[in-house]
């Protein structure tokens, strides 16, 4: 097992290096002179040169990359051009709320997705199935930013149950997490339904029923348990969807997380923050995929680790 984890971790390294090169080159890919863009249209030549020096763009490119990597390893991500604060300090206050939001979304999306999927499967082609699948296909099709605004209008403005935005305690997480989780919930529901329908046809389910097991026990203990492995994997692999979606949802709810920080930084052309935020998102995504991959092999005895 440890060998497998070590091998998968080593395999991550080249991808991480390429990603670090891409995020490093980000500022160099910008059409035109990045120093001029950051300094603004009215900046003098001296101001532009100062910005160039501040961003380290006056050094040879290889030296810039070596410095960038050295700083990365020591956790030095540069200084924000708009706030003047170290980028790492800005991340410290923004990362945890985003992480909590993502996990809460994933938690309820998995729970609701499983319930809808199971109910639909055991009532195949009956109204609970139609209702469940209409909900699921709608959840995939609904734009997150629109759902968020509708939820704010209903639950915050009209009913006054939750704050309209910002971060002030647990209640601030409810609406954003419902919005963010809707798409994943739908995918899990659809996948659980098809996986359960397949499992319910299996011989061991027929045997269970034949030996007089209660239907509840057949569904929950045998069929669902068997479907759970692949469902959990699908849920894990959709984590990237949440990371991308969080940018939009955090903007709708003025939620002070990493996604909102990224969008604000783009608006102000704060390149050091943009570069580091993209790198962090990519790293988080790769790490979660690795964890899911390992979990899948742990949960599923059919998978041979050495193969």
């Amino acid at each position: 097992m440890w060998k497998y984890i070590a091998r998968r971790t080593v395999e991550m390294i080249p991808i991480l290096i390429v990603i670090s090169i891409l995020t490093f080159l980000f500022i160099h890919f910008i059409p035109g002179d990045p120093a001029r863009l950051v300094a603004g249209k009215d900046a003098t030549l001296e101001d532009v040169e100062n910005v160039r020096h501040e961003l380290g763009l006056d050094k040879p490119i290889l030296k810039q990359y070596v410095d960038y990597m050295k700083n990365l390893v020591t956790g030095e991500l540069g200084t924000s051009l708009t706030t003047g604060l170290p980028v790492i300090d800005m991340f410290k206050t923004r990362f945890m709320p985003s992480l909590h939001l993502t996990f809460l979304s994933m938690f309820w999306a998995t729970l609701m997705g499983l319930v809808i999927g199971v109910v639909s499967a055991i009532n195949k082609n009956k109204w609970p199935d139609y209702f469940g699948m209409v909900t699921a296909v709608s959840g995939i099709s609904i734009p997150g930013f629109w759902l968020g605004l509708l939820l704010i209008q209903l639950f915050s403005v009209q009913l006054g149950l939750f704050p309209t935005g910002g971060l002030d305690g647990f209640s601030s997480y409810i609406l954003p997490s419902l919005t963010l989780g809707a798409g994943i919930m739908s995918m899990i529901a659809r996948f659980t339904r098809s996986s359960m329908l397949e499992t319910l046809q299996a011989d061991f389910i027929r045997t269970g029923r034949a030996k007089g097991l209660k239907e509840h026990s057949v569904i929950v203990t045998h069929a669902l348990r068997n479907s759970l492995i692949s469902v959990v994997t699908v849920a894990g692999l959709q984590f990237g969807f949440l990371l991308g979606g969080s940018v939009v949802v955090e903007t709708v709810f003025s939620f002070p997380g990493m996604g909102r920080l990224l969008i604000d930084s783009i608006a102000f052309r704060d390149y050091p923050v943009i570069q580091s935020a993209l790198l962090l998102f990519a790293f988080e995504f790769i790490l979660v995929n690795l964890i899911v991959d390992v979990l899948y092999t742990v949960l599923n005895p059919k998978i041979q680790l050495n193969s």
Binding site: I15, V18, V137, S141, P143, G244, A267, I274, L278, I286
Partner: protein, 298 residues
């Protein structure tokens, strides 16, 4: 006098003539009621997108300061926005922008991804490794984040949104086509074509590419829905179409300040995006049920 053998041959020919894959497909597809309704909706939407400027009841750009934020009524079916512009007319004209952005992004991604996937799967070796590792790198960024990064780099604008959505579509198409190519190249007829001296391009185009078409059709349909969501999301974030354009995401974004007092400004463009994406997803589901051999056999 006609010999029995000749009669049999003509019967076989008649049967062969009668068989049409398109007819078979239509026979199965029309049983998928939801997908059929969704297809009719999309066809109507495409027609509306083309003739939009001629049928829109009002000028979608003309402000009317006597009719600010009016709710839906007989004269303004979807109400008016903060400048008094008719929302229904803006939705009609905006259909062209939303469809154009998503169609062009997905089709450009399809062309590039298919070429890369075919080359990767057919030739294998180091070409395959380079293409697939490059895809892995692109897959390391969640779709929407990759699009945001590209637009952040190139600057806001509808053309850059098309490029961004295209780039995040390429690796998915490449991987799908590579898989199908790996399967298809094991077929005997491919080996036969190769042994008869057919060029690589001919083998890929005439013998392998047709094998990937059914999977591609399903995926393209699903992908158009995703592209509409991504493009309108980028516009909502201020990274897409310019604020005066009647693009659905922009309309939704500019209306959010009036959500408390005139919710129709947000609800109407949202419904347009939702129904269009829903329709593409339903068509995708229907096509999968008809074309996917695994599901068909079940």
């Amino acid at each position: 006098m006609t010999s029995p053998t000749t009669m049999q041959n003509s019967q076989v020919q008649n049967t062969q003539k009668k068989y049409s894959p398109l007819k078979e497909f239509w026979k199965s597809f029309k049983k998928q009621k939801a997908a059929l309704v969704a297809s009719i909706f999309i066809v109507l939407l495409i027609v509306v997108a083309f003739i939009g400027p001629y049928i829109a009841p009002y000028d979608p750009f003309e402000p009317n300061y006597d009719a600010l934020l009016e709710g839906p009524s007989a004269s303004h079916l979807a109400g008016t926005d903060e400048y008094g512009r008719d929302i229904f007319s803006r939705l009609i004209v905006g259909a062209k922008i939303s469809l154009m952005v998503s169609f062009s992004a997905v089709f450009l991604g399809l062309i590039l991804g298919t070429i890369l996937g075919l080359i990767s799967g057919y030739f294998g070796g180091w070409i395959d490794k380079i293409i697939m590792r490059s895809c892995d790198v692109l897959f390391s960024f969640p779709d929407l984040l990759l699009a945001i990064a590209i637009v952040a780099l190139l600057g806001p604008g509808i053309n850059n949104v098309i490029i961004a959505v295209m780039i995040f579509s390429v690796p998915s198409f490449a991987r799908l086509v590579r898989g199908a190519t790996l399967n298809a190249k094991e077929n005997v007829y491919v080996e036969a074509a190769q042994s008869m001296g057919a060029s690589h391009v001919r083998v890929l185009w005439k013998h392998i590419f047709p094998e990937t078409i059914s999977e591609l059709i399903i995926f393209v349909t699903m992908r158009i829905g995703t592209a509409i969501l991504a493009a309108s999301g980028l516009s909502f974030l201020g990274l897409g179409a310019s604020p005066e354009m009647p693009e659905w995401g922009v309309m939704l974004s500019s209306g959010r300040d009036y959500l408390g007092t005139s919710s129709h400004v947000v609800i109407m463009p949202g419904i347009a995006i939702f129904l269009t994406v829903l329709a593409f997803n339903l068509i995708g589901d229907g096509l999968r049920d008809v074309l996917d051999p695994k599901i068909k056999n079940n």
